[in-house]
């Protein structure tokens, strides 16, 4: 209780809320990530007391991750990488005009997921952190493969085309410096290519710009072309309660998956969202509805990405090891305050840790309010004529990509992948597996190859270590469950 009162003071509340509002804006801009939002805040925190700075950082990260879902739902442009999976069913729900319901559901689930993630952080973080330390290249390899297998789970239609899309993403991910030898692959002497293909401009291009191109190239009065544009946007919270009631188990499941993956230093909110989405489909009674605007398909990824944020603080607080790129910045800021993150922080700065926990929980309530206002603020955009909205999406996507590293190279990527995404959809190749391949490619390759260096070329530890074996088993289960079930049913008949 003391901790609650100690953070609800006006000199903390004002910067905290302002930071959360900034988070909404940054998160909703395609190209600007939650990490960037935190990096923006950090120089300001040099001049504030620790708890003010940390409240600003926590607040900005939670709102930014949620706000990334807003353009994902209405425009099919993920605002942050963590919203990639939110595009799938959120945008599909928006097409028949249920966007407001989707985003209201999204906001409530984000808040709930965030809360559960923080509660897990508060209660069992030392246990989880110790568990996360047992993960090394062998385990991360399987985890990445598990994530990649989700592309098979989420692909609708031809499995072969899903495979082509995924392999395309994997091939793209091999561009750039090879981690184990430093050799610049497929770079042709270009320093930008050496840095690898950043998946943010690719994602903006594949999903967002391709949709703009498609909207333009269909006749103006085509129903589908107008899907992104809705006349009357009002977040609908009445139906949300009912839907959430039906999906209690799914919310809990996605929160736990999100927090666990977030707690692993080698994986963050984006992967958490994809895995939660795939798992939701696998455990759903109506998997065929996924990808066509299923409520479950909105709940799972949006719950998981906010839950993952709580998870990333687990190794950060317990061991001083960043759980993702955001907590990496946080740890730097904590050092500025003279805090040494690591096992001693719980003894030496117990009060501050309690305050951090309190701030994290209260931020969830603020998120609910500010998120709602953010949705309202965002939707004035749709009051413009359709063609103006298209121009707006394009210029914001372009500048967002430019802002990544102040370079038009990334704008070029947006264009190239916008065209590619358009073409791929024309020949019915699904886009999500491509993004999964691009995100997970380096993780699979690095962990496999470096793991093999560790064992001098021996594959056995990939199967013999307990966690590895569990993941391998899980993978087999995912692929064999359906066929085996079918086989048994057929035999019974």
């Amino acid at each position: 209780m003391d901790a609650v009162l100690s953070v609800l003071r006006i000199e903390i509340l004002i910067p905290w809320l302002l930071a959360m509002i900034l988070g909404i804006f940054v998160g909703a801009m395609p190209g600007l990530t939650a990490t960037m939002a935190v990096a923006l805040i950090v120089p300001l925190t040099f001049h504030t007391p620790p708890i003010v700075g940390l409240a600003m950082i926590l607040g900005v990260s939670f709102t930014a991750i949620f706000a990334g879902d807003i353009p994902a739902t209405f425009l099919r442009v993920p605002g942050t990488p963590a919203s990639g999976a939110a595009v799938l069913d959120g945008y599909e729900m928006n097409k028949p005009g249920k966007g407001p319901l989707a985003i209201a559901l999204d906001l409530t689930c984000s808040t709930l997921g965030g809360t559960i993630g923080v509660l897990i952080l508060i209660t069992i973080s030392p246990i989880l952190a110790t568990f996360a330390l047992r993960f090394t290249h062998f385990e991360y390899f399987w985890l990445a493969l598990l994530g990649l297998s989700m592309s098979a789970v989420i692909t609708k239609g031809s499995t072969m085309k899903g495979l082509i899309s995924m392999t395309g993403g994997l091939i793209l991910s091999t561009i750039g410096l090879d981690i184990s030898t430093g050799y610049p692959r497929f770079a042709f002497g270009n320093t930008y290519l050496m840095g690898g293909i950043n998946f943010i401009p690719v994602m903006i291009g594949l999903f967002g710009i391709s949709e703009v191109l498609r909207s333009i190239s269909v006749t103006s009065h085509d129903q589908l072309g107008d899907a992104a544009i809705i006349s009357n946007v009002k977040a609908d919270f009445r139906s949300v309660g009912k839907i959430m009631g039906k999906n209690k188990r799914l919310i809990l499941q996605s929160s736990v998956i999100g927090t666990l993956i977030g707690a692993l230093p080698g994986a963050g909110a984006d992967i958490a969202a994809w895995v939660a989405y795939g798992m939701a489909k696998k455990t759903s009674k109506t998997p065929e509805k996924f990808g066509t605007g299923a409520e479950e398909g909105v709940i799972a990824p949006t719950t998981a990405n906010n839950a993952a944020l709580g998870g990333t603080w687990i190794p950060a607080l317990v061991f001083g090891i960043p759980g993702d790129s955001i907590t990496a910045i946080v740890l730097g800021a904590m050092m500025m305050y003279g805090l040494k993150p690591g096992p001693l922080v719980f003894q030496g700065s117990r009060d501050l840790v309690n305050q951090i926990f309190t701030v994290a929980v209260i931020s969830q309530f603020f998120l609910l309010i500010l998120g709602y206002l953010g949705i309202r603020a965002f939707t004035w955009f749709f009051k413009f004529p359709r063609n103006v909205v298209l121009a707006g999406i394009t210029i914001f996507s372009i500048i967002g990509a430019y802002a990544l590293r102040s370079s038009v190279f990334d704008v070029g990527l947006v264009l190239v992948f916008g065209i590619l995404g358009y073409l791929m959809e024309r020949v019915t190749i699904p886009l999500p597996p491509f993004i999964l391949g691009l995100i997970l490619g380096p993780m699979i390759e690095e962990n496999l190859r470096i793991g093999l260096v560790k064992t001098s070329g021996n594959f056995w530890p990939f199967f013999s270590r307990p966690i590895s074996a569990f993941f391998a088993f899980l993978l087999i289960l995912i692929f064999l469950y359906e066929p085996v079930k079918l086989l048994i049913q057929r035999k019974r008949r």
């Binding site: 091939i171 430019y402 802002a403 704008v411 264009l415 260096v453």
Partner: protein, 167 residues
């Protein structure tokens, strides 16, 4: 099996693209450094080569699929290619692509304010937005982005030719 005439269709294009990419990869990777088997180090070519082989399988499958199930897909002929430039809306899409290319080439030279304003004007006019609205929205979006990115997010946007008049 009824003998069907051969139709060139989208499945063949996918297959050919897959094969072409595989060939490109396999022709580049031999120049990569080799791994060291004694310490279990696979070379940088290991993963790309593996993916190229997957793509070859995919490509061959697509070629077969496109031929065996040709009736499922619309044939692509020379006239399809000609149609690509016929419709007004499709041409608009090409123009938009052209505008973005122009944006990329001119952004650093002309600076943010000029390039982005010009881009929006061309974009909106091409989509048939009335002239006065076009100028209003182009100014509005440029100003909004300038405020959000340049001021609020402290991302430095190039000032380009306006540098000399102090903007």
């Amino acid at each position: 099996m009824i003998k069907r005439p051969f139709h060139f269709n989208q499945e063949h294009i996918i297959g050919l693209v897959c094969l072409a990419i595989s060939v490109i990869i396999l022709s580049i990777t031999p120049s990569f450094p080799k791994g060291k088997a004694n310490i279990g180090l696979t070379g940088p070519a290991f993963f790309p080569d593996l993916l190229a082989f997957v793509f070859i399988v995919c490509g061959v499958y697509q070629l077969w699929h496109g031929t065996a199930y040709a009736s499922l897909y619309r044939p692509i002929t020379l006239s399809t290619a000609r149609n690509l430039f016929k419709k007004k809306e499709t041409r608009t899409a090409y123009f938009i692509i052209l505008f973005i290319v122009g944006f990329i080439l001119l952004f650093d030279i002309l600076g943010f304010l000029v390039t982005s304003f010009l881009f929006l004007v061309l974009f909106l006019l091409r989509l048939g937005v009335p002239r006065w609205q076009t100028f209003f929205y182009a100014t509005f979006f440029t100003a909004l982005i300038y405020f959000l990115f340049g001021w609020l997010f402290t991302i430095s946007l190039p000032s380009g030719i306006l540098e000399y008049v102090g903007l």
